[in-house]
């Protein structure tokens, strides 16, 4: 039974067919499967599968990334409401677009994947100041700050990632909080993330999910060690 559900769910996600994905999930609930099992045995493996596919699949495009991330996020949100105990969160991320940047869609893919991977995401929205990024990360006890920038001047701007790095340094937070950047300018110049003071970057929103999970683990191991 579980194999059929996984197969049907993966197919629906591959076709970016949200209605069918929900039909599969509702069918599984009706058959007595728990929300916890749906998340850990169906949804999370599907997200991980998607992450590994994206590297190999030249046909997968941005529109499909948006849709699959959205399905993952919506299904997860619905399932979380049905959890008997609050789920164990593996970490927290504050995310937003750099100062001066209003392109909010890129980070949406990241958020969708992270939610499904049980990472708590605090969305700061668009045009976020460096101060706000750092303050929010401290307030929410987040391990990672994610900064999206879609234009060269917001990626490289002095009030963007560079200032976040400066603040982290000044406040002695560099071991506790890591910074990841993403967006078109970083794809054109794979070294750019270093120049703006980020710890790492990701080529696309789906891969960013995995990179962030790794960063969280890194920070946590560092803090406990």
């Amino acid at each position: 039974m579980i194999e059929d559900i996984i197969k049907a769910y993966n197919e629906a996600v591959y076709e970016t067919d949200k209605d069918t994905a929900f039909e599969v999930v509702n069918g599984a609930l009706a058959q007595g499967m728990s929300a916890e099992d749906i998340i850990f045995q169906v949804v999370i493996p599907a997200v991980e599968e998607m992450m590994s596919l994206i590297v190999k699949d030249p046909d997968a495009n941005l529109a499909q990334h948006f849709m699959t991330a959205q399905i993952a996020a919506e299904v997860t949100e619905k399932m979380l409401l049905l959890f008997k105990f609050p789920p164990e969160i593996i970490g927290r991320v504050v995310i937003g677009t750099a100062a001066g940047d209003l392109h909010s869609l890129g980070k949406r893919i990241v958020m969708g994947c992270l939610k499904a991977l049980m990472v708590e995401v605090i969305d700061l929205g668009v045009n976020v100041t460096a101060e706000k990024f750092v303050d929010a990360a401290v307030a929410h006890d987040a391990q990672v700050i994610g900064i999206s920038a879609m234009m060269v001047h917001t990626a490289m701007g002095e009030h963007g990632c560079a200032e976040v790095r400066k603040l982290l340094k000044e406040r002695g937070l560099e071991d506790k909080i890591k910074v990841i950047v993403g967006g078109a300018p970083y794809r054109y110049d794979a070294e750019l993330y270093k120049n703006v003071g980020a710890d790492t970057w990701a080529n696309d929103g789906v891969s960013a999910g995995k990179v962030i999970v790794d960063l969280i683990k890194e920070v946590k191991s560092h803090v406990t060690a």
Binding site: T16, D17, A63, Q64, H103, R108, M151
Partner: protein, 535 residues
């Protein structure tokens, strides 16, 4: 429609010609223009051609006066007098010098909109629609309300980047570049004007002082770069919904450069950082705000501006994503020029691809891309997700087997999906803000060149246009120029522009949370659901 086959020393080409149209008018819209100096009244004799065969009109009086009996016997004619009724071969010995300026086909211009009036001393005027890609310029006798000539050419700023951001960026980095960007457009306007005067009036120097008014509309970035005002604010999000002042400060300098001592220059003010005065011009020309019921206006250009008239107020927003419809970022994408696939029909024998000027296919213009993707979905080559049923490893799918110019790739489909989803989601968001549904929409005006050849049913099938009755959808490709002309001919033109936008509300969709979810839901290549406005 007849075909005009033109033989010249550089080769042979064929052109569509409306039955009864004269050869000069037909060729003036192409880059094979005849020589001319009189505006097509048969008085200069510069436009001679030789008819080899075909069905044409009889000789006119001016041809008897201008062409010798011997030459007439050999088929020599004046192309401005020569009307074509069936497929015709002509020999054109002297092409006019190559020019970036072509006249705009009359069918593409909206009819003269004016209630003309007594206009002071200098009663000629010029209307300019300054687009990111193209400039459109018309010359008017404001006293008689007559459009003397029209010209269309490329915006020469293109060398600094096809998209607006690159040009703004270039201007910000270097003030010399900023001045160069302004100068390029001012020169282009001047050249278009002089080309019209030379060919349609036959007189430049004496005419220039007779020009009393120039009105200019455009998107905010173009107007800011033209006037050198406010372009630095455009990259700052705080100004996206604010008015940006772009009046030419160096008014006198422009007059003296253009040799137009008596011309008042009016740059019609943009509505906001991301909504230009070309949109106000659209609203004026389509009279969108005259109705009492709901109406949409879309201006698909480099950005797509979207307006909802609720019957009482205007809601305005703007989304990126136009370039896909102009061929930018599409492997075989191109603007609507010779050789562009503009229409695709499906029948029992397969597909029929129609290209502009019947030239061999060079690529797809926006309407051709809509048709291609619709057909790929309906034949199940492409899934509604935008994925090909048979993976092709990024090579894409050729509509005509073996013809690489007819290939559509996965990336093309992706760009198209994102562009159409942005438009559909923006329309739906405005409906939601106004507490309306698609049922309340009595009219939808498609402005911008993309709409000219659009197949409405196909655009609805893949969710670019909403499911409203096709007879409520109007295609008004040159509305922004027509609105600019209204301002040129109306005593209170500037006032009209201010009035129409006085109570307009502008929205920045990136600050409206529901927008993103709607956008993602509209990415599928499926019709827009009629009921989704109140989800």
């Amino acid at each position: 429609m007849a075909i005009l086959i033109v033989h010249s020393h550089v080769g042979t080409r064929q052109f569509d010609i409306t039955e009864g149209q004269n050869v000069r008018d037909a060729l003036d819209t192409t880059d094979w223009r005849v020589r001319a100096a009189c505006g097509g009244v048969g008085s200069c004799g510069a436009c001679v051609v030789q008819v080899e065969s075909g069905g044409v009109s009889p000789l006119t009086l001016s041809e008897y006066q201008r062409i010798s009996a011997d030459a007439r016997a050999q088929g020599w004619r004046l192309s401005c007098q020569l009307r074509v009724y069936s497929d015709t071969h002509i020999h054109l010995e002297h092409l006019a010098h190559t020019s970036v300026w072509h006249s705009i086909p009359t069918a593409d211009l909206m009819p003269s909109p004016c209630k003309f009036r007594e206009i002071g001393e200098y009663h000629y005027g010029v209307a300019v629609d300054l687009g990111t890609t193209h400039l459109r310029v018309t010359l008017w006798n404001r006293k008689t309300g007559q459009r003397i000539a029209s010209r269309k050419g490329l915006n020469p700023q293109e060398r600094f980047g096809a998209d607006v951001l690159n040009r703004l960026d270039a201007a910000l980095v270097n003030t010399d570049t900023a001045q160069e960007l302004s100068r390029l457009v001012r020169n282009a306007i001047m050249k278009a004007l002089r080309d019209m005067l030379a060919r349609e009036v036959g007189e430049i120097r004496l005419m220039l002082p007779e020009i009393g008014l120039i009105t200019i509309v455009g998107n905010t970035a173009m107007l800011a770069l033209l006037t050198g005002q406010g372009y630095s604010d455009l990259l700052n999000p705080d100004f996206w919904q604010a008015r940006i002042d772009c009046q030419p400060i160096d008014y006198k300098k422009w007059q003296s450069q253009w040799l137009l001592p008596n011309a008042k220059i009016i740059v019609l003010p943009p509505i906001a950082g991301f909504v230009g005065s070309d949109l106000t011009a659209d609203l004026l020309a389509t009279q969108l705000c005259n109705g009492t019921q709901g109406a949409f206006l879309l201006d698909v250009g480099t950005n797509t501006e979207i307006v909802l008239w609720t019957g009482k107020t205007l809601l305005i927003t703007s989304v990126p994503g136009g370039p896909a419809f102009e061929g930018v970022g599409i492997r075989n994408g191109m603007s609507a020029e010779s050789g562009a696939i503009w229409n695709i029909e499906q029948n029992e024998n397969g597909l029929t691809l129609e290209t502009l000027n019947h030239e061999p296919a060079r690529g797809f213009c926006g309407s051709g891309l809509v048709d291609a993707i619709t057909i790929l979905v309906s034949t199940k080559v492409l899934k509604p997700s935008g994925r090909f049923a048979q993976p092709n490893g990024g090579d894409g799918y050729a509509l005509v087997e073996g013809n690489s110019r007819t290939v559509i790739t996965g990336c093309d489909v992706d760009a198209f999906q994102r562009a159409k989803a942005a438009i559909a989601a923006a329309m739906e968001t405005l409906l939601e803000l106004a507490n309306m549904t698609w049922c309340d929409i009595e009219r939808l005006c498609m402005c911008g060149a993309f709409g000219r050849h659009l197949n409405i049913q196909n655009a609805q099938a893949i969710g670019l246009l909403p499911p409203i009755s096709a007879d409520k959808i109007e295609l008004n490709a040159d509305a922004s120029l027509a609105g600019c002309e209204l301002a040129l001919l109306n005593e209170n033109g500037l006032l009209l522009f201010d009035e129409i936008t006085a109570n307009a509300q502008t929205f920045n969709l990136s600050l409206i949370p529901d927008y993103e979810e709607r956008y993602i839901n509209h990415l599928l290549l499926k019709p827009i659901r009629a009921e989704t406005a109140h989800d």
